[in-house]
């Protein structure tokens, strides 16, 4: 099916006598646009996310109609399969009421509209400017097929590709660092209370061996405090401790 559409697109008639593929392209485009508009105007949060699925899926179909098969499936895989799921996950985890949420509307509509128009204009301008003098060879293998995409990506665009992957890696590492830092900050608050702040005179043998978290501090402080007397008293406490386990 897909190969036939690509052939159709390549050999179809001119611009003013549209082929079936072109009509389909337009119709899907209208649907996609409509879904996108509903996404930003609906008052129901989860509905917005689901309309986003329709919009993204519509985009994937457009890619397919443009014979960019690989991009289409990656679009579905990443955006519909993962990003929207993550979005829904976040919505459900925080708040996702059934029905309208009156506060879902943003107060600064004009600004948002201006930003959107500016972004759209910039994108259109960049694309038009970049491809103004580019001619696509329709005779060779179909542009957008997996093989061609892979070849282009890993021959002409290897450097940007690798730079992007490094960027993603940096983001990944950053996320890990952030989450670990939080965990470390929370740790003294929880473990500092009963165990380590105990009186210096009382040995806490159970604590000492069972908190592997900070062995250095404990072993350093105790012998210094009670080097002569403690080892004999600490030893008898060992057997019952083993029995407890």
């Amino acid at each position: 099916m897909i190969t036939t559409t690509s052939v159709l697109a390549a050999t179809g008639p001119g611009f003013l006598s549209p082929s079936g593929v072109e009509i389909a392209f337009l119709l899907v485009g209208v649907v996609t646009l409509g879904a996108a508009v509903i996404t930003v105007t609906t008052k129901q949060l989860v509905h917005a996310a689901l309309w986003l699925v329709v919009a993204l899926g519509g985009l994937a179909v457009e890619y397919l109609l443009l014979t960019a098969e690989f991009i289409a499936w990656v679009q579905v895989l990443i955006y519909v399969g993962s990003v929207v799921v993550l979005l829904l996950f976040g919505l459900m985890l925080t708040r996702a009421p059934i029905g309208r949420s009156p506060d879902a509307d943003s107060g600064n509509r004009p600004v948002a509209l201006a930003v959107a128009v500016a972004a759209g204009a910039a994108l259109v301008w960049v694309v038009v400017d970049a491809f103004r003098h580019t001619w696509i060879d329709l005779e060779g293998p179909v542009q957008g097929s997996t093989e061609v995409t892979g070849r282009i990506l890993f021959q002409h665009w290897v450097l940007p590709f690798e730079a992007l992957s490094v960027l993603l890696l940096a983001a990944l590492v950053g996320a890990i660092v952030l989450s670990r830092k939080n965990a470390a900050a929370a740790e003294p608050g929880t473990t500092g209370g009963p165990g380590s702040a105990g009186e210096p005179g009382r040995p806490n043998p159970g604590r000492r061996t069972r908190t592997p978290g900070r062995p250095a501090k404990e072993t350093r402080s105790r012998p210094a405090q009670e080097a002569p007397g403690r080892p004999p008293t600490a030893d008898p406490s060992e057997p019952p401790q083993k029995e407890q386990r």
Binding site: H47, E69, L77, V80, G81, L86, L88, F89, M92, I98
Partner: protein
């Protein structure tokens, strides 16, 4: 005209397979699970060893009233089962069962991507069901479903990428054409990771925390009844068929067999798929359910490193061969 007939025939065949194979798996599950637990399983429906049990179940489901909870989001609630089921039908379309060009519903160039992408969409059905039911257990089930999908999609993709690297193509038929018997030990880790992650994505035991009946009733499907519930069940069993078929195609060599490769290739594919489906049932009977945190831990600390190691191994061997 001939082309139209050909396409129609293929679609019909795939559709029939889509309806029959999940029922077969379901019936096998009934019987195998029963015998593994020292029981007999269904014995009455249809006369001979309860072969028509699932048909009877279907009739029962069709007779039930279709209830939508008062507080539910009606349209999304009703749409969810279809969205859960449809992707599996679309995936079945591209799984090649035989070596010839005609033994596949529709050949797709980026087969692996297509398959994984569409399977990921199916989970949206569960998410929608969980949210739209207006039930806290359903919502919890939906949340768990989403968390599980996010965790297990990655190892599945990585394992599939390993095979794609080995074959040098992302088309399912191309992978099978390049397949040699020694890929079996070479890709065994990837196969295990893929199969495990596939199980988790289907929410089959022992990865069924999203529908854990002892904790959250039936997860996202708690409020469903009648035909819509049956659709969810059908989706689960269709999912088993798909995951087993994909594992067969990607890792077990599909139509390749010790003998009778020409003409009987499809038998090998079906046989391997059936064996894997048996393993799915076997795992369900043998293992207890993983807790939610264990689920996440298994994916992020075991499966993903294993998948990465498999990719590294694949790369090394690939370079060494050349």
């Amino acid at each position: 005209m001939n082309d139209v007939l050909d396409v129609a025939l293929r679609l019909l065949l795939v559709f029939v397979l889509f309806l029959v194979l999940p029922l077969l798996v379901g019936q096998t599950e009934h019987k195998v699970m029963a015998h593994m637990q020292g029981r007999l399983g269904p014995m009455y429906a249809g006369g001979f060893h309860g072969w028509a049990q699932l048909v009877a179940d279907g009739v029962k489901f069709a007779q039930k009233e279709d209830i939508v909870p008062a507080g539910a989001d009606r349209r999304i609630f009703q749409l969810a089962p279809a969205l859960a089921l449809l992707p599996y039908l679309l995936v079945l379309l591209v799984i090649p069962i035989g070596p010839s060009e005609s033994a596949v519903g529709q050949h797709i160039d980026a087969g692996i991507f297509y398959v994984l992408a569409v399977m990921g969409v199916g989970v949206l059905g569960s998410l929608m069901a969980g949210w739209a039911s207006a039930n806290k257990f359903s919502l919890l089930g939906g949340l768990r479903t989403a968390a599980q999908l996010l965790a297990y999609e990655l190892p599945m993709l990585l394992a599939a990428a390993s095979v794609a690297m080995a074959a040098g193509t992302v088309s399912l038929g191309g992978i099978l054409n390049a397949w040699e018997w020694w890929w079996l030990p070479w890709q065994i880790i990837g196969a295990l990771v893929f199969f495990t992650a596939g199980l988790a994505e289907l929410q089959r035991p022992p990865f069924d925390a999203p529908i854990a009946d002892s904790e959250i009733i039936f997860g996202a499907y708690t409020e469903y009844t009648g035909l819509r519930f049956a659709l969810f069940l059908l989706a689960e069993y269709a999912g088993i068929v798909i995951v087993c078929g994909l594992t067969t195609v990607l890792f077990l060599g599909g139509w390749h067999g010790p003998w009778g490769a020409d003409g009987l290739g499809w038998v090998w594919t079906l046989l391997k798929t059936a064996v894997l489906a048996f393993v799915v049932i076997w795992l369900r009977v043998s293992y207890p359910r993983l807790r939610e945190d264990q689920l996440q831990k298994l994916s992020w600390t075991v499966l993903i490193p294993l998948a990465l190691a498999q990719i590294a191994l694949t790369g090394i061997v690939k370079v060494a061969i050349q």
